[in-house]
Symmetry: C2
Subunit: 170 residues, 2 copies
DNA sequence: CTGGCTGCAAAGCATTTGCATGACA
DNA sequence: TGTCATGCAAATGCTTTGCAGCCAG
């Protein structure tokens, strides 16, 4: 998984690249969020956001930390952790529990809501979306007088691939 | 919550009450499970199971531990924890994450599958079941060639009661 | 008797925080 | 120039395990 990615050129941590900051809408959103909260834009936060945006769909704080350190080994885990929290607060990241002991994060800004199929054999995660499912959930919530803030549907099982492998073992 | 329950009479920990063991199907199931696995029936396991069956719908290992200790203060947390694991393995209990840092357990034997509405204000949990939801999930799973083992839908939001309270604050 | 069970204490481990130093605005 | 950010180390807190003595079968 990690082996196939292109090694990004080493980035200077002490220089904020303003030119590149407009590429992705998440960046504008993040800087705006920092401004509103009276927080500061730093090279570390820039690097962490950028790395997060370039990562695979689902990532743990530990994994993101490792990727960030490939570019700047001086960044600490604490900063990655705290930045991930900021990103979650402003909607750029979304956190979730997939059943292992880690908190996983996925990009949450440019993506519509979706649910997850988790393979308990290989750990693979497949996303899916069903408008029908959403509609029924909304209906359930309405019936209970609930004001929905978030929802999460996770389905664990054996993916097609792993079923095939299993079959050939016996 | 805990205040309203009836204080159960102190049970001798050194005596297994065989007569009471048939009351609940879960008990037979548990003893059968222990036998199959070559494990032993003990007074602690009996007490823990019984206490679990008499508890509220959703309980943490810590809460169960406290309840067990009301009846027998000599029981250790480790034993409660390990017994809860056994109960989960044989289907009498079901474990779940509600969003706080605790693992919650609910009775999983005599209950049909259901999903949860979790109030982020008061922490209350409401169960619901929708056959439509189940059907669509089954359809999604089938379409992906997945073999479903478990699934969990959690909806977070503000319950009716808390919305009312909120409204009257402002 | 013997292997499983118990309870204590301690370890694991992801997450979170305290604090002195350093950087942004 | 002051406030916020950083990174190290340490604390947290739920969970899990090692181990010596105990008990069911």
């Amino acid at each position: 998984m990690t082996g196939s990615e292109k090694k990004a050129p080493r980035v200077s941590a002490s220089k904020v690249e303003t030119a590149a900051s407009e590429e992705r809408p998440e960046k504008r959103l993040f800087y705006e969020y920092l401004r509103r909260k009276g927080l500061k834009r730093t090279a570390q936060r820039d690097l962490i956001l950028e790395t997060f945006l370039e990562s695979e769909k689902h990532i743990t704080s530990e994994e993101l930390y490792r990727k960030v350190r490939e570019r700047d080994p001086t960044v600490g885990f604490t900063t990655v952790y705290r930045t991930l929290k900021l990103l979650t607060e402003c909607g750029i990241a979304r956190s979730m529990q997939l059943g292992d002991r880690y908190t996983h994060y996925e990009r949450g800004f440019d993506e519509q809501h979706h649910d997850h199929l988790i393979c308990i054999e290989c750990g693979g995660v497949t996303e899916f979306f069903s408008q029908q499912l959403e509609n029924i959930q909304a209906e359930v919530v309405r019936r209970h007088g609930f004001q929905m803030v978030d929802h999460s549907l996770r389905i664990w099982g054996i993916c097609r691939e792993c079923q095939r492998k299993r079959g050939s073992w016996r």
